[in-house]
């Protein structure tokens, strides 16, 4: 295709010129030869020339036919012109480029995060066909649960819409070695059914996946490593396959390594540490028999070809509906079970999605304001360029050519802005990942890859077109010619457009201010929620006592008590406690019922196993009765402390002490009532019933986790060192993997909210500043244009106060219209924020009122400066001005 070749390999202009010259010369010589009939050489030459006509004109006309080459030529000319103009007006250019860099930069940064967290496809085959099975007990409230082992097997065996069904449950392991120089590590892992990887449609990078024979109790001492773990632990050595690692003091054989980038079920929207190791689930017969004991298994399935997600939901729901018929003793009353499916991964992104969408909306408004500002700049400059445009038009530049010129200028500004903006975006992403490390994992993974850069390019081209064409939008370019050389007058229409732009800017800023106000108000409400404990001076230390190192509870108790004592001996430490789970970070629920009540009345309670000193260390008041003491031994009757809400719910007369509860097969006697503590996030609603047991009395799966809680009058770096030393002086094999203050724990539990508030407030501030600058610019320009008129007014007796008010009222009028417009849009936008609001209605008078007040106040300030300049106009100078 010749056009394709021309497009890809455009011949250079010089080449074509040379070619044409040669062609015409050849013709000329040929003509001369044919004219040689008794003429002198000089005469021959002229005859030939005459025959060919005006050669210069021929060349011109031929050149006009070289469309592609001439297009490139013109582009080059226009670009040169844009550069020249930019260099001649450095302040204008800098302002415009910086504004666009801000607008495009924040959009690029936010898009890169959205792209990583919400848009990226998980690294599985055909991920849209993967579904997650979710169970819930609607009467007990709370979110989606997993399934019990027996339920998982029922779904797997009975489904008619899912091709394969795989299960998985989180696990943590202590990774120990005989090398005393290596600290024991605590790793996140996953126990999975053998067919998980085939369900996902992934194959390992090295080695193999699990066989069915390995997914059996006793045969399941094999493990697959993540790529990252393989690199970290084995330096990427192929010898790792077949090697043995010690997990919870048990040898496991490594049989495979997953490819780089494989993650399951962790994704970019998750928080915390991704699993680095997978082992077969190997369900025991005991666990399968105990149908109602525990619901830890998450289920993933792949839709059969042709099956829709709705069909799968119906299928799963009807399987769950059979359970009560087969096990009438179990699924009754509060244990009424419902099940459904959702697209896999939806649950993970549910938390981050509303925040990221809100932020995306915010940056689009920022870009809108940035565009409006640059358009205003362009308009102001177009007015002063009327003369230039008129002259160029008179010299033969067509209207289309002038439009292209304006477009080139706009694109030049936008693309330069995009270049700077991309750098800005890079810094912003880094900063955000540093400030909110546990918002989502994707924040630190976000990078400026090709799709992000493509997005940036598209946005900046669009921006460039909008900004570049602003002067053309407002009026016929021909007007420029008619107005050429004359100043003032005829600017009414143009001023209208500029005012509209200011209104849009003010309105957009108000929308963002309202959004930020709503979120700040919500955050303040969250802070006011009583936590039920005092976090000041509290440091927590996470450790683990695994079953293999401490197979019986007696030595464990001895070690734990010893550690508690040694920690208490650290100078400055006032109180020490031990808990398996701590509020605002951990989540553990148990099913309980009152003694003598029907199984159908079972309820969920937050649960933790704690030592007697825990309440003092956290400053949780014991309202009635006592805390756990040395008398609560494993052989004594099991005692429990419940929270105030639970006591009031069941025994409003205050007779809770001495009453009995059932938890699984255990019978608990209430010996104390503690103050209410917010166990789940502060913004998650009312406090739920909570049950505490003594960690030195009750044995459960939870007791491998041990969190030591210290209240100290001092803090500082060496406290952590003293803690480690105290623990390792008792047993060097205990992993100490997380030492942090309770304040950090609280901050982390509110990270999503902090992220949303921080960014939205930053963007609202940016929007406000840009809008105010825009207003200031327009008013200043208007005052400059009206100098003559204002001077006339002053000369005719207007006081400077009157002139001041005249100009200021212009500015305030625009901002008030903007506020009204912004409030309407803001009310609509606030609905989108509803998931992030806490204790605040979408129409919060405080947020709306403050946003309006801030904007009007700032615009009064912005109007005051040009107004003062107007009031000080010297009538003589002003009249001479024209």
């Amino acid at each position: 295709m010749s056009w394709l070749r021309r497009l890809l390999l455009p011949r250079s202009r010089e080449q074509r010129e040379k070619d044409l010259e040669r062609e015409l010369l050849a013709d000329l010589e040929q003509e001369a030869e044919e004219q040689q009939h008794g003429l002198t050489p000089e005469e021959v030459k002229w005859a030939a020339r005459r025959a060919l006509g005006n050669l210069t004109r021929v060349r011109e006309d031929v050149r006009a036919e070289w469309r592609w080459t001439s297009l490139l030529d013109r582009l080059e000319q226009d670009l040169r012109f844009a550069l020249r103009t930019a260099r001649k007006n450095p302040i204008y250019t800098l302002t415009a480029v910086a504004t666009l860099a801000l607008g495009i930069g924040v959009n690029t940064a936010v898009f890169s995060v959205v792209h990583t967290v919400l848009l990226r496809k998980p690294p599985y085959a055909d991920p849209d066909r993967l579904v997650q099975v979710r169970q819930k007990f609607p009467k007990l409230g709370g979110g989606g649960l997993g399934a019990s082992p027996a339920e998982f097997l029922d779904y797997r065996d009975r489904t008619r819409t899912l091709a394969t069904v795989a299960g998985y449950e989180p696990a943590v392991f202590d990774l120990t070695t005989d090398d005393p120089s290596k600290e024991p590590a605590h790793i996140q892992a996953l126990r999975v059914s053998h067919d998980l990887f085939s369900t996902l449609g992934v194959t390992p990078k090295r080695g193999r996946t699990f066989t069915k024979a390995e997914d059996v109790e006793g045969a399941n001492r094999v493990a697959i490593l993540s790529h990252e773990m393989w690199q970290r632990r084995f330096g990427g050595d192929l010898q790792a396959i077949g090697a043995t690692i010690r997990l919870n003091e048990q040898p496991y054989t490594i049989i495979g390594v997953m490819p780089e980038g494989f993650e399951f079920p962790f994704n970019a929207a998750s928080v915390g540490e991704p699993p680095v190791l997978w082992t077969p689930m190997g369900l025991t017969q005991q666990r399968i028999r105990d149908r109602g004991a525990d619901f830890p298994i998450r289920i993933i399935g792949r839709l059969k070809p042709g099956a829709s997600i709705d069909q799968a939901a119906q299928d799963i729901s009807s399987i769950a509906a059979m359970f009560p018929k087969e096990h009438p003793e179990l699924y009754r009353g509060n244990l009424h079970l419902e099940a459904t499916v959702e697209v896999f991964g939806e649950g993970e992104t549910a938390r981050a999605r509303p925040v990221l969408l809100a932020i995306t909306g915010a940056v689009l408004f920022v870009l809108l304001i940035a565009c409006a500002n640059v358009m205003n700049l362009q308009l102001a400059r177009a007015a002063s360029r009327q003369r230039e445009i008129a002259v160029r038009n008179a010299l033969g530049a067509s209207k289309g050519r002038l439009l292209v010129q304006l477009l080139t200028e706009g694109l030049f500004l936008a693309l330069t802005g995009a270049l700077l903006g991309t750098g800005l975006a890079f810094l912003l992403i880094r900063l955000a990942a540093k400030m909110w490390p546990s918002f989502v994992a994707g924040l630190s993974q976000a990078k400026l890859d090709w799709s992000v850069l493509t997005f940036t390019l598209a946005v900046s081209i669009l921006t460039g077109i909008v900004c570049g064409l602003a002067p053309a939008l407002q009026r016929d370019l021909g007007d420029a010619i008619r107005h050429a050389g004359r100043s003032g007058g005829g600017s009414q229409k143009r001023h209208g457009l500029r005012s509209a732009l200011v209104v849009i800017e003010a309105g957009s800023a108000v929308v963002l201010l309202i959004g930020a106000g709503l979120l700040i108000h919500s955050l303040i409400n969250v802070w006011r929620v009583p936590m039920g404990f005092s976090p000041d001076g509290v440091t927590i230390t996470r450790t683990a006592f695994n079953r293999q190192r401490y197979p019986s509870n007696e030595p464990r108790h001895v070690a734990e008590r010893e550690i508690e004592q040694r920690l208490a001996a650290i100078p400055g430490v006032e109180a020490v406690g031990l808990a398996t789970h701590i509020p605002l970070a951990d989540d553990r629920k148990i099913g309980y019922k009152l003694e003598g009540a029907d199984i159908a009345s079972i309820g969920w309670a937050d649960h933790a196993l704690v030592s007697g000193g825990y309440f003092a260390a956290m400053r949780i008041p014991i309202l009635h009765g006592r805390t756990f003491g040395p008398e609560d031994t494993p052989n004594a009757p099991i005692t429990a402390i419940i929270n105030e809400s639970m006591a009031r719910q069941f025994w409003p007369d205050g007779s809770a002490i001495g009453r009995r509860l059932l938890w699984g097969g255990r019978r608990l006697t209430i010996v104390g009532i503690a103050g209410d503590v917010h166990v789940s996030a502060l913004d998650s609603g009312a406090v739920q019933p909570t049950i505490y047991n003594s960690v030195y009395q009750v044995e459960s799966a939870a007791t491998t986790s041990a969190v030591f809680v210290l209240r100290a009058s001092r803090d500082g770096g060496n406290l952590a060192a003293s803690i480690r030393q105290a623990i390792w002086s008792v047993d060097h094999g205990i992993p100490v993997f997380d030492i942090r203050s309770m304040g950090q724990i609280i901050a982390r539990s509110l990270e999503t909210r902090h992220f949303a508030v921080g960014l939205l407030t930053a963007f609202a501030t940016l929007a406000l500043v840009l809008a105010v600058i825009g207003l200031y610019g327009v008013l200043s320009y208007a005052v400059a244009q009206r100098t003559a008129e204002l001077g006339m007014r002053l000369a005719l007796g207007a006081t400077s106060g009157q002139v001041l008010r005249l100009v200021m009222s212009d500015g305030v009028r625009l901002s008030v219209i903007g506020v009204a417009l912004g409030a309407v849009v803001g009310a609509l936008a606030a609905r989108g924020l509803s998931k992030l609001l806490f204790g605040v209605g979408s129409f919060d008078p405080l947020a709306f009122g403050l946003a309006a007040a801030v904007l009007v106040g700032m615009s009064m300030l912005a109007s005051y400066l040009p107004a003062r300049r107007a009031a000080r106009v010297d009538p003589i100078v002003a009249l001479r001005h024209e």
Partner: protein
């Protein structure tokens, strides 16, 4: 520039015809600009004078459109001189057929208006 737009109108009137004539000429085989001009002139007994001011822009236009292709080749006495020889491309051949039939339709339509068949008119 107003005068320019006038000329361009005039050129356009001639343009289509000249393009067709060039394409038709090249059916006989590759030729350079001078030969094409001379061929048209001779064939029409000097009735149609092809000016270089029209010929070369037309050649470059047809080349841009991909209807003809060019190649430098030596010719003349002792192959002393190089000429830019144009030849018809496949697309050009198609274009010629299309233009030819269009031209025929137009001339017959014009003819019907200018010289209506005698008799049919008189009876009306």
């Amino acid at each position: 520039m107003p005068p320019r737009s006038q000329t361009s109108q005039k050129i356009q009137l001639l343009q289509g015809t000249l393009d067709m004539l060039i394409l038709r000429t090249l059916i006989l085989g590759p030729a350079h600009g001078h030969q094409i001009a001379k061929h048209i002139q001779r064939t029409t007994d000097d009735l149609l004078q092809v000016e270089h001011g029209s010929l070369y822009p037309a050649l470059h236009r047809l080349e841009e459109k991909g209807w003809i292709a060019a190649k430098w080749e030596a010719a003349g006495k002792d192959l002393k001189r190089e000429f830019k020889y144009y030849r018809l491309t496949a697309a050009g051949k198609k274009q010629l057929v299309a233009e030819e039939s269009e031209w025929k339709q137009m001339t017959s339509a014009i003819a019907r208006i200018m010289w209506p068949v005698a008799g049919t008119e008189g009876k009306g």
